[in-house]
């Protein structure tokens, strides 16, 4: 038995025997990379379903009188669309998906700290997703993804199913959070200090505590809503002594940090893609890393800015407004640093890079309207209108989803050993960019002029722009279809990528694509930041990674 290297955290380095058989390898796998891919595939299936729901919404809104589906069905459709996109698509893709797939490789670990917990948290996710979609069979929830009581107490039986489904997916998130925090704290390769860690890992490290802490508040709120609906214990019903505003506090105590859960990992993806395709170090590494932590911390202190119209005492609202403005500062630092990263670069316009550049432009717009909304007097005008719908889609689609696509084009070779087709990818980007802006830009002025959100019919004066948006949304849907075609085609026919198609300098690019199940033959030693393109790679012990030699640690060694 060879002598095992010891990680800085004191965990012995060993390799488990390679799992045998299809089920242990690809279904109930313990390998973080397979689990990451499982997350990505499952989340994209849910993405397709809730994307179809989005097109039902837009088709209904082609006409002021609706008429495509009934009001009740429409309410179910947008409620499930919102819930699924948040909890079954964006969060799992960015944390369970790309998080699992990439960051253990980037810190030079063989797996996450708790592989069994990882497998469990993955398998809860499709189950809860199916439960959420199954709520259609018993009358889906209708009160939006926020499900404010008391109206959610009146909702059909599926609302309780919704509570259970979101509770479960929250359990899965919490376990992922614990797993990631421990992995990053304890399993970094020798020499991988915090100030040498790639920025994607920093993104995950800022996100994981949010997953761990914030989700518990949501779980409590959901449990209370479920108990009230099913057993009549009055938590929220004011006629029996409950408080409907309590739900809003607990919901947003989770859901505001959740906004950062959905964007910090995307910041991380952008911070990897930009230096690779500019052939330049990321500008202001330390400020980008620490601003992520600042955003995560401040994210816990601003939840009531979602509640300026809820009847809070006025003096309570003031600090929430000002703290929300303050979050603009670290966010601005990131945006300026990314822009400065391009200066003097040798920029290669791969599809991943296009999505990263699109991300900066669109996320900045969403961030600016976020500042608008934090200003109480303006929020009192546009709260609950299409202006909010525009803002949140600029952040979550123009931001998070563009980040996801950048990550897909960037790391698909690492997952599959093949490149996605770049021509189709560029069509995907440009059509998506046009369709997205066409769909969501007009919503800003529709909301300001008087169109409330969550309506199945609307004032005919808004008909022109709604039709415009619907047509643009079909373009966006078509571009996403191109993406799916691209993935399905490239997985069999794509050009072979080799280990490092982009000239990436982080650790995951220094090993074969796809990597061995044990990731590294030798755990490398790290000597510096990965982004110095003029310097040799700051790693030692990687010489045999691309050869046929067997791993240094024998399988089963303990």
């Amino acid at each position: 038995m060879s002598v095992a290297a010891v990680h800085p955290g004191g965990i012995a380095d060993h390799i488990h025997p390679e799992p045998q058989g299809f089920v242990r390898r690809y279904v109930f796998s313990l390998d973080h990379k397979i689990i990451g891919i499982q997350y990505i595939i499952t989340a994209f299936v849910f993405f397709m379903l809730s994307g179809l729901l989005a097109e039902v919404i837009r088709t209904q809104l082609l006409n002021p009188n609706g008429g495509f589906v009934s009001s009740d069905t429409y309410n179910e459709v947008y409620s499930v669309h919102g819930s699924a996109m948040v909890w079954l698509v964006i969060i799992p893709l960015l944390t369970g998906g790309f998080g699992n797939l990439v960051f253990p490789l980037q810190i030079g670990a063989r797996d996450v700290a708790f592989p069994w917990l990882n497998m469990l948290s993955f398998w809860i996710f499709p189950v809860s997703g199916l439960m959420l979609f199954a709520s259609f069979l018993m009358g889906a929830p209708t009160a939006g993804w926020m499900e404010y009581p008391p109206v959610s107490l009146q909702g059909a039986a599926g609302t309780s199913m919704w509570c259970a489904a979101i509770f479960l997916v929250g359990v899965s998130s919490t376990m992922t959070g614990i797993n990631f925090v421990v992995t990053i704290l304890k399993m970094r390769a020798p020499g991988m200090t915090f100030t040498r860690m790639p920025l994607f890992c920093w993104g995950q490290f800022a996100t994981a505590p949010l997953l761990m802490i914030a989700t518990t508040a949501l779980a409590a709120a959901l449990a209370a809503l479920f108990i009230e609906r099913e057993f009549g214990v009055p938590f929220y019903d004011p006629t029996k002594g409950g408080s409907p505003v309590m739900w809003q506090h607990m919901f947003w105590f989770y859901s505001h940090p959740a906004v950062y859960i959905m964007i910090l990992p995307a910041f991380g993806i952008i911070s990897e893609v930009l230096p690779t395709f500019s052939r330049k170090p990321i500008f202001g590494y330390k400020l980008i890393a620490f601003s992520s932590m600042a955003i995560a911390l401040a994210g816990f202190m601003v939840w009531a800015h979602h509640m300026f119209t809820s009847g809070l005492a006025p003096f309570l609202q003031l600090p929430f407004m000002i703290l929300t403005f303050v979050i603009g500062v670290p966010t601005g630092i990131k945006i300026f640093s990314w822009t400065a990263t391009l200066f003097g670069g040798k920029i290669h316009f791969s599809t991943a890079m296009l999505f990263a550049l699109g991300f900066i432009g669109l996320f900045t717009l969403g961030g600016i309207t976020g500042i608008f909304l934090a200003a109480i007097p303006f929020d009192l005008h546009v709260h609950g209108t299409y202006f909010i719908v525009a803002h949140l889609h600029y952040v979550l689609v123009g931001g998070s989803l563009m980040g996801v696509f950048a990550g897909m084009y960037y790391w698909f070779p690492k997952m599959s050993g093949r490149l996605l087709n770049e021509t189709l990818g560029k069509w995907h980007f440009w059509l998506f960019f046009l369709g997205f802006n066409g769909t969501f830009i007009p919503m800003h002025w529709l909301g300001m002029l008087g169109m409330p959100r969550e309506v199945a019919t609307y004032d005919p004066q808004f008909a022109f722009w709604n039709r415009f948006e619907s047509v643009a949304s079909y373009l966006m849907a078509f571009s996403i279809l191109l993406f799916f075609v691209n993935v399905l085609w490239s997985i069999r026919n794509g050009k072979r990528s080799g280990p490092n198609p982009w000239g990436g300098r982080t650790l995951e690019w220094q090993i074969p694509s796809p990597p061995h199940y044990y990731n590294f033959k030798h755990i490398p030693t790290v000597y510096g930041l990965p982004y110095d393109f003029a310097q040799p790679l700051p790693y030692k012990g990687l010489d045999e990674e691309l050869t046929d030699s067997p791993p240094a640690v024998a399988a089963g060694a303990h």
Partner: protein, 364 residues
Amino acid sequence: MVEHKAQPAGLSGGFWTVTAILTALSIAAIVFWSIFPLEKYLPAAIITARQVDLLFRFMAASGSALWIFVAGYLLYFSIAFRARATDPPDAIGLQVHDNHKLEFWWTVIPALFVVLLSIVSVRIWYQVMLEPENGIVVQAIGHQFYFSFRYPQINGEVTDEMHLPRDVPVTLNLTSADVIHGFWVPAMRLKNDTVPGLVTTIKFTPIRDGRYPIICTQFCGVLHSEMDKQYLVIEEKPAFDAWFKKWQEKNAHASNALPSAGGGAVALQGGNASAGKALFAQKCSACHKVAPFSQTLVGPGLAGVLHDPSHPNLVNNQPATPQNVAGILQNGFTGSMGTMPNATANGLSRQDIANLVAFLDSLK
């Protein structure tokens, strides 16, 4: 990788040309948002609507300028620093890690802007909050799926339109009979939720005659989309008086029962002051003293609540009558001091409320 000579640092003439163009564009955007005729698209029906528009103009102008610079440099850098076919395949960019001076300034300038924006927002917010309250008091009650309105001296509820006289300050108390609704008049640039069990207040002064839609902005059930069919009518005092008189006659025999969330009006005749005193010690004394109004514990002192000439109105701006005090006990109230829980939260029966009101009435 082979060592490369980094390309020379320094800002080329192109950079300054682009900066000049972006500056010009930003100034154009600022001018655009300063003169854009917002009221042509959405009239300003109350005084503070113009203040909110002003805040929007300020934020839209500075936001546009910021975005123009970010997107402009993004585009310019992408084009100017693209890899060219003539570059060697392993060409690298300028190896700059950071620039502390630059980073310092792009932290400090946004931080200063945050201070400025906070000052502007708070000032405008104060104007919205501190509208005078010496005019008419109206209550709007959300129902599935309409709003009803209560006026002093009109019995029962007005159920179609909400009329208000121009240039008279309005105190609008909002509550709900069932679920949470949002009461929004886009022309007022103002909204608040109507929350069952709570009374929330907005204050404003109408300045422009017209008929403005009232729209529900919180999902409230299957017909939520239909809750945009009622209007706020602002008119001259004589026209308002005529409308008011019509409803007084029409509702002459209507019941004044409170909204159903409160369970109807409390009969106050059978109130027992000594039972109320015991109840006060048990249920109210944690937040209220038997002392003058100004002696706040959590809520105000209640010794003179019904008989203090310097406080003719209650915290919800309704006149201090026993029936209105009963209304607060029944429905609760949220104001600048915080939330007074409603009767169900406090565990008060209707007889308890009658007893408490009798006790408060006995304090001179």
